[in-house]
């Protein structure tokens, strides 16, 4: 008889729980009032800013803790709190908060790019435009360059600031490739035919494997055609078909005759260092240098690119729309993209990363320092890497290309 009472109580409690959340909608204080960078510096004094981002890279973490955080305290009296969180979790948190109607959150500065930026923009999770209020953007970066305007083909509109770059780089053992590295898809096919089972790639949707497939497609049909194609399955298939045909042609000569693929880049590296396959790849330009210094790869391992270029993209910094300390966040982004901090980041100790700067805007001295840093590590020179770059295809096309690969190559 009392069953109804129990269910009533349950339902009542449920409602009261949801009710708690709806009333705390206060206006954010500094929403539109920051006019310039100097204004942001004034307003940010004494604030505490959080930096949310991927934390799997120890060296990048150390850079934030040892270089950026003390500099922020000293120069601007702003405290920085680094919060390790993967980008998809950050976005999930932001979308859930938005759905719940929250106006203020803990997330201030976010490390983001590409597909995730597309998601964040789609759901209107970011604050901006911010690039005009960041000094180092105007001073050091190629303001009109592709990377400042498009992120994976998605219009940036000033909502994020370039932070670091990434480029697909191949790794091979010089001694295995006696006639030189395969610097194009045709050479790669010939090598695979002559050495069956020694080449493979990680199966999309694995991030880097997906980039490899796009790179092969762009190498064969040309980036412009993929860029111009309409973002629907039928049209895109017609355009990229030669690329998919190539992947089918090379398939029988792949590891395990292409019947299966490794699923993570860690596995690809492991197979490479065990001599099971002859080529590995990474989105980090300094991958070979790092693996060589860890003694995981042989000292004869070197990086190479395709002559027509490999896919490159930037990663960016953005501010969450729900941030309570937008002034402080702007100052933090400026510091993280400053010349002094980025030159530190380029050192071996902090992971050899490549600054997002336009070399024409840097002093000769700075350019020389950067060149010296990357010498004799089995990695390519900055000029060569910048010469052989192709931009990312539009984010919305990536899932379609992955689906087409699945349909026409994997399940062929």
């Amino acid at each position: 008889m009392k069953k109804w009472l129990i269910s009533l109580l349950t339902v009542g409690m449920l409602f009261s729980l949801t009710a708690c959340k709806t009333n705390d909608t206060k206006e954010t204080k500094t929403e539109e009032s920051i006019s310039s960078f100097s204004d942001a510096v004034k307003k940010s004094k004494g604030e505490t800013v959080t930096f949310y981002g991927f934390s799997g890279d120890e060296k990048a973490n150390a850079w934030v803790d040892e270089v950026v955080t003390p500099a922020m305290k000293e120069k601007y009296d702003v405290t920085v709190k680094r919060v390790p969180m993967d980008i998809d979790q950050i976005l999930n948190k932001l979308t859930t908060e938005k759905e719940a109607g929250t106006k203020e959150g803990d997330i201030d500065v976010i490390w983001i790019n590409g597909e995730n930026f597309y998601t964040a923009k789609q759901a209107k999770l970011l604050y901006g435009p911010i690039t005009k209020k960041i000094e180092s953007f105007e001073k050091l970066m190629d303001v009109d360059g592709h990377n400042s305007k498009y992120d994976f083909g998605v219009k940036i509109d000033g909502y994020e600031v370039p932070y670091g770059s990434a480029q697909l780089v191949f790794a091979g053992d010089k001694e295995k490739f006696k006639d030189g590295f395969p610097t194009g898809t045709q050479a790669l096919l010939e090598y695979a035919k002559a050495n069956p089972g020694k080449i493979t790639y990680t199966a999309p949707p694995e991030f880097t494997g997906s980039a490899f497939v796009r790179n092969v497609i762009c190498d064969i049909v040309g980036y412009d055609k993929v860029e111009e194609a309409k973002a629907n399955k039928e049209d895109l298939y017609k355009v990229i078909k030669p690329g998919l045909d190539y992947l089918n042609e090379i398939k029988p000569y792949l590891w395990q005759e292409g019947k299966t693929y490794p699923t993570t880049t860690a596995e690809l590296d492991q197979m490479f260092s065990a001599g099971q396959i002859d080529m590995s790849y990474s989105y980090s330009q300094m991958h070979v240098a790092e693996k060589r210094s860890d003694k995981e790869f042989k000292a004869t391992t070197e990086s190479f690119l395709f002559d027509k270029g490999t896919i490159a993209n930037q990663s960016y910094l953005a501010i969450a729309n729900t941030s309570k300390v937008k002034a402080g966040a702007l100052v933090l982004i400026n510091e993280m993209t400053s010349e002094s901090a980025q030159l530190k980041k380029a050192e071996a100790k902090y992971g050899y990363s490549i600054p997002p700067f336009d070399s024409n805007k840097l002093s000769d001295e700075t350019n020389q320092t950067l060149t010296d840093l990357y010498k004799n590590q089995g990695v390519l020179s900055l000029e060569e890497m910048q010469e052989k770059q192709i931009p990312e295809v539009q984010a919305e096309k990536i899932p379609i290309i992955e689906a087409l690969w699945k349909e026409h190559v994997l399940h062929e």
Binding site: K2, I6, E99, T119, Q122, G275, Q276
Partner: protein, 284 residues
């Protein structure tokens, strides 16, 4: 009854908030109501899209194959092992067998990968001993089309679980029910159907439900050890959910609800079978 039933309220509340709220939200999004990206028309298109996908049937078949193989083998081996435990009453043996239960699936999956992949420990050992000329000659046990690695992980985790659970039931059997039946002149078949099966079947069916639902919807093990061309349903749902394009998320939720539906149907069928079998009917 009042006081005792009221004590259940906190438990019910917790579960209703966590499970029902999530389920309701999932149902809402799967039906196409996702205001965050401007979708607010209720329809069944997401379900249609997911179910009519050409690879859906294939992946459903593969998921069923993995789950059923792993479940039946675990039940068989687990019951066998518990009989062994009852014969050999050594506490250290009991401890060793219950050890894998405490390890997370993802850790076991990584262990197995390091152990039996072609560039793994065993393969390298064979290579050093000269048993194989190249590590490529070691059989492909990870990312293979039969899902050997995945089933191996499930067996390693689930057999001890079944063994430890049925062990408790078998101890009751030791109480002498079988001897009593024999004394009263029952045949071996009679003993099996009237004594052993009624006592064991409920536990076994419950274990079947737990194991099947778990392995069917398991994500991390097939993700790490699976063959990309044989995707499980859970992996497809994950792919749909993590796409950059938020518009595929409703499909991911639809697929998740389809998975939950399948598990519910299997549970219902298994429980019905359990009721029909001897020992399942309600006692007066």
């Amino acid at each position: 009854m009042n006081k005792r039933k009221l004590l259940v309220v906190p438990f019910l509340l917790l579960n209703s908030v966590v499970i029902l709220a999530a389920l309701f939200k999932g149902l809402q999004i799967s039906l196409g109501y996702y205001p965050l990206i401007g979708l607010n028309k209720i329809s069944l298109t997401n379900y249609q899209q997911v179910l009519s996908d050409p690879f859906f049937q294939k992946s459903l078949g593969y998921s069923c194959y993995l789950a059923l193989t792993a479940t039946f083998l675990s039940l068989l081996a687990g019951v066998g092992l518990s009989f062994l435990l009852i014969r050999v009453r050594k506490s250290w043996l009991h401890k060793i067998i219950s050890l894998p239960i405490s390890l997370p699936h993802i850790i076991v999956a990584l262990m197995v990968m390091q152990l039996i992949s072609q560039s793994g420990i065993i393969s390298r050992l064979f290579f050093q001993l000269g048993l194989i000329k190249e590590i490529d000659h070691f059989p492909l046990l990870i990312h293979d089309s039969g899902g050997f690695g995945i089933i191996f992980v499930f067996l390693y985790k689930e057999i001890p679980y079944v063994a430890v659970t049925t062990f408790a039931i078998l101890q009751q059997l030791q109480l002498g029910y079988i001897e009593v039946a024999k004394n009263l002149g029952a045949s071996t078949t009679r003993i099996f159907f009237s004594v052993i099966l009624p006592m064991l079947q409920k536990t076994l069916i419950t274990l079947f439900i737990i194991l099947f639902c778990f392995t069917f919807a398991s994500f991390e093990v097939p993700y790490l050890l699976g063959n990309p061309s044989n995707q499980t349903v859970a992996l497809t749902a994950y792919d749909l959910f993590t796409q950059a394009d938020l518009t595929t998320r409703p499909q991911a939720f639809a697929l998740n609800l389809v998975i939950s539906g399948i598990c519910l149907v299997i549970t219902f069928v298994a429980l019905t079978i359990s009721r029909i079998l001897p020992g399942g009917r309600k006692k007066p």
